[in-house]
């Protein structure tokens, strides 16, 4: 609790980010009390610009853009959440294992990881999605995105472990007879947490981007409202040429708020939770006050 209070007090980027996140959470919560079903069409008059009755206007499919957007943001966040859990589970497992075990295992795993870093993901996902077209549900899409984004973070987890193993306090712990697991848990884990948090957010943002890309290309399940499919349908009905900007404004605006919010919160958290900065803050407090 004190952490959050301190962050509100000292970190302007956390204040902004948290405020924007709250807004998003309200939107997600509103989706559960929506007067419409998320798959329903022809519920309201078509193509109305924003008005008092339809705050964000209506689509050519007869949906209220505002309520549609609440479903879209919810589904996109779920997909990205699944993707991040899958990719980071693999990344942490392979990265830390390679880092701690070392030797031949490390070299084989690293070569494998480097391979997946180099292979361009987008064509591969497009290939898979083309074959599975229409059969990609929320969970499957999340897992697919996750399976293709573990390599880069895995390399970074390994680098973190290698750096920690070289630290002086690790040597001290070893020589004072601390057990291996205890060192990992008590000495290394606190350093890994801020890194993992920041990394998970960046993975989350990446997954959101990929979801949007696939959906706009028409490669995911386009009847499910997500940020990407909203843009897909807006493009499909040529919202831009017909000057129905409100249909595009909602998904684009929400995306920007979401990603900037997560980015601000994560960078503030990474700075704040890092034991090194906390030590520095403590030292500054000691001399200053």
């Amino acid at each position: 609790m004190t952490v959050i209070r301190d962050m509100f007090r000292f970190s302007p980027s956390f204040r902004w980010g948290a405020g924007m996140l709250l807004l998003i959470l309200v939107l997600v919560a509103l989706s559960f009390v929506s007067p419409y079903d998320q798959f329903a069409r022809r519920e309201v008059p078509n193509n109305r610009p924003p008005s008092r009755e339809y705050v964000f206007g209506t689509t050519a499919l007869g949906q209220d853009v505002f309520w549609q957007a609440t479903f879209a943001i919810r589904n996109t966040l779920i997909i990205a959440g699944i993707a991040v859990l899958v990719s980071r589970a693999i990344a942490v497992l392979i990265g830390t294992f390679a880092g701690y075990v070392g030797g031949l295992t490390d070299r084989v795993l690293s070569a494998f990881t480097d391979t997946f870093i180099v292979i361009p993901v987008l064509p591969l996902i497009i290939l898979i999605a083309t074959i599975l077209q229409g059969n990609l549900g929320m969970v499957q899409l999340g897992v697919l995105l996750g399976l293709l984004d573990w390599a880069w973070p895995s390399k970074r987890y390994r680098a973190q472990i290698l750096a920690l193993r070289e630290e002086e306090f690790t040597q001290t712990a070893i020589f004072s007879g601390m057990g291996r697991l205890k060192i990992i848990w008590h000495e290394h884990f606190p350093f890994l947490i801020p890194f993992t948090l920041a990394d998970m957010v960046s993975g989350f943002l990446y997954a959101i981007g990929l979801e949007i890309t696939l959906a706009i290309l028409g490669l995911s399940n386009v009847s499910l409202p997500t940020i990407g499919t909203m843009i897909y349908w807006a493009n499909y009905y040529q919202a831009l040429l017909a000057n129905r900007w409100w249909w595009l404004l909602a998904p684009i605006g929400i995306t920007i708020v979401v990603v900037v919010a997560f980015y601000l919160v994560s960078s503030a958290l990474a700075v704040f939770l890092d034991p090194r900065t906390r030590l520095k803050n403590l030292a500054a407090k000691g001399t200053g006050a």
Binding site: T115, V118, L122, L127, T130, I131
Partner: protein
């Protein structure tokens, strides 16, 4: 000789591994997934057109043959490689008898030109701005730049380029909406001007993407160098500031950027694919999009394999240039 053994050979080996694994994945995926791509392709291609039975049969055979679906999986696998070595990726289904390689070759110059130019600009710009911003963290311009790029950086690339199209090609029609160039191809001023005008927005969106990413990394790297004691010493010794920034800070934070550039090539390539879709720019990405729309499965596979080999080779080249820049590797 040592350099060859400890540096060049492992890189070559890694290059081979990347290509083998990448091609194997591309070979395996369609065979593991549910749904028969041949059936799917046939159904979609013949959905609203009447094709005479003979053409249909040759079409079907072509598809079966093209996917190498005769024989056991192992045989198929080796035949797949055999054809790849001959540079044969089969015919496109959307533009039927045209080989996939020809289509890719047509798009390649556009993609390489766009990607190469924007990587060069964004890499230079990002590092310069990032280093300067790290050296002057309290100036108004560096803080403003920091805030702007922090907002741009996490925005999904599709959204960023869509916004640019809306703003500068649609609402303020300064730049053309689609295409690579207009007029007759040739070394005329008008044609080159048209290429530049068409490439400006796509390149701008890629430069924005690359610069914001590079800026954040450069700032972090330069910050570490600036904190080191030799920079403090140089400042105390009244070494001129441009010299400190150029010789000490920039030079020493540059090397990781070269490695990083090689590793981020794949991401930038993904970006280029999206750019071309959004701006209808006639490179590989746009062909990939056309292939998706026409369910041209073979072209999608061709582009996938081609991008794996292309990116792997580009990374290899960047890795091989590295020792020329880093004396520590050379004199190991």
């Amino acid at each position: 000789m040592d350099l060859l053994k400890t540096y060049i050979l492992p890189r070559l080996l890694q290059w081979l591994v990347v290509i083998v694994i990448g091609v194997t994945i591309t070979f395996t995926i369609p065979r593991l997934l549910p749904g028969d791509p041949v059936e799917q392709t046939l159904r979609r291609v013949t959905a609203n057109t009447a094709i005479d039975p003979r053409a249909m049969e040759s079409f079907q055979n072509a598809i079966r043959d093209m996917y190498g679906l005769q024989g056991s999986p192992v045989e198929q696998y080796f035949r797949f490689w055999g054809r790849l070595f001959q540079g044969d990726l089969g015919p496109s289904l959307g533009a039927f008898p045209t080989p996939v390689t020809t289509i890719i070759a047509n798009g390649l110059p556009w993609t390489i030109g766009l990607l190469g130019t924007s990587i060069l600009i964004s890499w230079t710009l990002g590092i310069l701005l990032g280093t300067l911003a790290a050296y002057y963290p309290n100036k108004l311009w560096s803080q403003t730049l920091d805030k702007i790029l922090i907002v741009i950086y996490p925005v999904p690339y599709f959204i960023l380029s869509l916004l640019l199209v809306m703003a500068f090609a649609y609402y303020l029609p300064i730049f053309p909406l689609v295409g690579g160039a207009t007029g007759r191809p040739g070394f005329t001023l008008a044609y080159i001007g048209s290429i530049l005008r068409h490439a400006f927005l796509p390149a701008l969106s890629l430069v924005l993407l690359g610069t914001s990413f590079r800026f954040l990394i450069a700032k972090a790297l330069a910050g570490r160098v600036i904190a080191s004691s030799y920079v403090s010493y140089a400042e105390l010794a009244a070494v001129p500031t441009p010299r400190i920034i150029g010789r000490y800070v920039l030079r020493n934070s540059l090397l990781p950027q070269v490695t990083d550039l090689a590793l981020s090539l794949g991401a930038l390539f993904n970006g280029a694919l999206i750019t071309e879709v959004v701006f209808s720019y006639p490179g590989i990405g746009f062909q990939l999009y056309t292939a998706i729309l026409q369910a041209d499965f073979n072209l999608i596979m061709g582009v996938t394999i081609f991008s794996i080999i292309g990116i792997a080779t580009a990374v290899l080249i960047a890795d091989l240039i590295y020792p020329l820049l880093d004396p520590r590797v050379r004199y190991q």
